[in-house]
Assembly symmetry: C2
Homo-oligomer: 191 residues x 2
């Protein structure tokens, strides 16, 4: 503190010094809707800045054919679907595990390569929950990432190591869900 | 129930009958990040279906010039910013109130006109919290909307009447926020 600065405790909260950061790590977790869609909404902001953006989906199939994939590809987002559909639809858990591990190796390479300003690791939490990939290794990759690479990680029950490594963590809590009211997932809204 | 159907109680949960719906009302509320970005992420899905989409921003200025506005306009979304900047920046609360009331009248007209399949009412909750627009009137407009018009409403402290009228309600809870760590809002991620 230089002599002409007031002590921190005397400054009003509003005038607190904020620092810029070259990148951020965000986590969207919880049982509610909006974890992935908030990540996709953030992509709209990154694209507006001309940032190269990549998505790695850990649990959705390449032929799931979602609206978000279609529109993001049209915006120039590099989209990688690593899974073979939702795991609970899989007949072959070993294959699903192998694909999740491969997805993480691919994602870690994407982060390290420093070609993107925003990388979304969609539904990565499940692969850590099931022990397929090591949460400490993910946290280390986040901590050691190139300085301008922001990362958003989504999925329920995010590993504590990843929460610890993140700048911003939001828990999406389901207050009410149309499905519980007997309403089928709706194209254009839910996928 | 026809005679060849099993009683509902004997059916496994997974085989429960779900019904399709021509539209949904979603609410994103809470103190955490992701309320607006999840709405914008849903727009990616709607656009992929070729739906006409409109956004009405109740608190952000037309010259706020956000990334989400730029990218959404590029996707053909009709974007309407009703406010004159965040209210706590306003020198003229009466003018802010008048603009919020006008924004709601405009939004109610958009809903009734039935020209859009998805309408996002971004940060509308504040206008109800401050008593500028009537929550019961908003709920009535949602209940009486044309059947194929989906609506997403965002903002902290959403009025109970609107929560009641919604099919799906998510509370975004802040677990950790970069701002609390002294990090400034970042272009490309936060706006």
């Amino acid at each position: 503190m230089t002599s002409d600065e007031a002590p921190l405790t005397e400054r009003p909260y509003e005038r607190r010094e904020l620092r810029s950061t070259p990148s951020l790590v965000l986590v969207n977790t919880g049982d509610g809707k909006g974890k992935s869609t908030a990540a996709f909404g953030t992509i709209l902001r990154a694209v507006a800045q001309g940032w190269p953006v990549a998505v790695v989906q850990f649990l959705k199939s390449g032929d799931w054919n979602t609206g978000e994939e279609k529109t993001c590809r049209g915006l120039g987002v590099a989209w990688h679907s690593a899974g073979d559909g939702f795991t609970w639809d899989s007949d072959d858990l070993d294959e699903t595990k192998a694909k999740a591990v491969a997805a993480w190796e691919f994602a870690a390479g994407l982060i390290a390569t420093d070609n993107h300003r925003l990388i979304v690791l969609d539904e990565i939490s499940y692969a850590m929950t099931w022990g397929w990939i090591d949460a400490a290794e993910v946290a280390a990759a986040l901590a050691g990432r190139p300085e301008r690479v922001s990362v958003i990680l989504t999925g329920r029950d995010m590993a504590a190591e990843v929460v610890e490594a993140a700048d911003t963590v939001t828990e999406m809590v389901s207050v009410k869900h149309a499905f519980d009211g007997g309403i089928r997932a709706k194209k254009g809204i839910d996928y």
